[in-house]
Symmetry: D2
Subunit: 281 residues, 4 copies
């Protein structure tokens, strides 16, 4: 394992894509040195975007966490969430009817105000569901799993509708070493039980990279060679970036611990172009 | 599809294994002709057992449903439930510590009174779980899925314990055409998330057939050739019976509809030895 | 099922993406009316591309089939094959060492001449494989499955290298109703046995759509709203197009038979925007 | 990890079930001390059986390997192979037609002489396959994978027949650290491609334990408490024995290395009752 200085590495690129959790922050809050690092990027005219498997809150609310931690550089324009891809899908593909969702009111932001009526599965009367035209899984919170997962399964048995999972993650980290079951895992269970093919958005699927790339080429004159993806997870950030054809940098402040790093790269065959201890300068 | 008369077929065997749901009863109650059929078996000295993927209630409570419907022949001695196999496993293999379970108080019957302390996941404090020596999944009811599935996952991340799933079914039928998510499906999700290998009991796995076979050879002098398995599901009752090496009979009163029967046999390659419209005489 | 006239539908779009097999040709050759249809597109200034899960032959050779059948409009510039994405990955990500491949000499076209030495698994001596830097699965032909699949598995156990599967299909159609096992299925088996995560290119994955989109935006001023994807398979062409956010049209000349169409849409929940009997005018 | 002396442990049981590969022998031949250990068992009236996932050769040929190595105690009556369970299934369940198989002539021993005509897939003309009544996968050798796996898949698409996989293993060890793809892995690929449910025999499935148990209760008056299962693999020997309800002993001469033993037990949650360095006395 050869470690690279993130500062020197960053200067080689015009655009940097960051994963959020495990790279910029963790369950205790912002990681050390993050505000200074973003100031350094701005000073050196390096553009950046945060690519996150998150449909639980709007880009505005996601950005606010960074702003409140003293990083004014991160505005909602810098956030690329899997929820935004789900929103795009809905706009292109769902023309009529009511849109059912699993998630909180905050997550429903992604699908509201698009001219479609939305209804939480929690509030849906399954006996008057003939006009439901799509189902979207946004967040693991905001509904009663016992009641509403069963209701969702029966909705899918009755109605031939597309299902969109707005977050591919199966767990997310909690305080200490614990995790929470994410909406991606609930989606996997429902997909198997309903025997359907769901549509998923989020790393490592290339569409979020493609979305971010389109986004940044509108503002910056860049090619894939000018972009670096920085993440802490081989199975999402690194393999996703590799497959999309951009350079990748693994950091050791999250899922991949320094002592396991070599073994994990060997056993998965997922090879980052660079490894940095952290993104702190 | 050639239909056989169940009455004539039954007379060829010394022992009949019945699946319960879809064969003897459904969501509306006992199917027509069932009490008379069991009287016929008794009159003709044909032994019978009910093999059921159920760990939600004791054999006594499971038998009571039939007795209350006017079938006194079905006592708790006639019930072979997957819960009984799980109980056996616990007795053989868990020697100390506390036994954690997902399920109702009624389902905990299977694991109580064996000299082990049991604790519902709902009541477990995960921070004092060092003495938990096994986890058993008994029923989909009796706990809060949002809270307790997460607690279970984190218990499995902390403690290297065997996990027993006392029911392989992933759904069970409800009124009309709806289904409910069974504990088997929750077990599949947790097994994937925890990256462990769980131990499962229930059809089509051969151990429940083996258990029933041992049970009936104690009382009756029989070989596998003397036994008929009757069920409504190709993927559990019929393939399980076929694999165990006993004759199998598909009935069309449950999961397999008369109009789909031929297609389902062709597409699965699971071939019952006989097909009967129902077990009514 | 409401059928649309392909002629009228085509006139609404600036660009059409076609699947090849089951849409333009089948095991007997070109489908009726295809040459006339392409002339119609040219006359009406509608651009087109053929998106195919194929890494067995170069775009030149793939195009030649159409040209030989009297469709001079289809040049190699019109072909977007999954092999081209694999080639791109190799160029971006494999900087040194030897590149091992499974496939024919013709398929190796995609990875040769990029400054890397390539070696067929059939010719590889596994005892001198320390310099192998990546493995690419191109075609199911060109090697001895008994010997070379075993050799490949052991290579992956010895060397921590990325593996690229240049065709996601698990089978492809042969004469009559038979199929052949495609390299995608061999890749799935090897991935499970080696316990790695392979990188796959081809429909329904969005990267081939993204690649085609970039390709056509270079020449045509179009947005996603101007593009129609035409295919015969719900699980690759239609769900892939839907997810990418372009309009989709199912044709009934291949995998999806007219008599099963409604049932398949209902049971999968994959809904094309349009259905046409064929692409013949 | 507390190590137990195998000698002392063995004296506590009336019957011992042994896994073969990794316990008694490996790619170099018989492990040290094995002949003496079997003499010790005979001297102390401890019965033993060898439970092996192997359908490539008859019990006679399997026993001969041990006899040739100076262990006359191991006769064909001591061998319980997964091939024997497959043979039993065929006898009970396949009454007519021709039986197709994948494997060598030696493996076909298990299904010949039962009054059924057998035909190797290699020799089968798929166009005259209307009388094929079952398919059995016996061995990974004896046929051309390129040609015959494709032929097998198309046979399964044409004929609604049961498929029996007589060995659940997906790989088997070869010289040094290499492995070979076993027929179980080919079975998994074909099952997915044909979208059928195959019937599998072999550890960890309980039926081989149940078969061995019946076998030894005919000769010895034993209960499950009198039996010890000895194996080198947590995922087959140990979990299978645990689930069947007999005591289990892990040895460290095969798949589970001393240095990984604790970690593997922790990470899988599969807990042997005892751990011995080897079965040598």
């Amino acid at each position: 394992m050869t470690l690279t200085s993130f500062k020197e590495l960053a200067l080689k690129y015009k655009v940097i894509f960051f994963d959020a959790y495990g790279v910029l922050r963790n369950h205790k809050g912002m990681l050390p040195g993050i505000p200074g690092m973003f100031r350094f990027l701005e000073d050196n005219d390096i553009a950046f975007y945060i690519l996150t498997n998150d449909a639980s809150r709007s880009p505005q609310l996601l950005a606010k966490v960074y702003q409140d931690a003293g990083i004014p550089e991160i505005t909602d324009k810098k956030i690329i969430s899997s929820g935004m891809l789900a929103r795009d899908y809905i706009q292109h593909k769902v023309k009529q009817g009511r849109l059912a969702y699993l998630g909180t009111e905050a997550s429903a932001h992604y699908i509201q105000g698009k001219g479609l009526t939305t209804v939480s599965i929690a509030e849906l009367d399954i006996n008057t569901s003939e006009d439901i035209s799509a189902l979207i899984l946004l967040d693991d919170e905001g509904f009663d799993w016992n009641i509403d997962l069963n209701k969702t399964l029966n909705l899918l048995r009755r109605r031939p509708i597309p299902v969109i999972v707005a977050n591919t993650d199966v767990t997310y980290p909690m305080a200490k070493k614990d995790v929470a079951i994410a909406v991606g895992a609930l989606g996997n269970m429902l997909e198997t039980l309903a025997n359907k093919t769901f549509i998923r958005f989020g790393k490592p699927d290339s569409q979020i990279f493609s979305f971010a790339y389109e986004f940044c080429t509108r503002k910056n004159k860049v090619t894939k060679n000018d972009i670096l993806m920085v993440g802490d997870s081989l199975g999402t950030d690194i393999i996703g970036g590799n497959k999309f054809g951009i350079d990748t940098c693994l950091v050791l402040t999250g899922n991949t611990l320094p002592e396991n790093c070599d073994l994990m790269i060997r056993s998965t065959g997922i090879i980052p172009d660079y490894i940095c201890e952290s993104v702190a300068l």
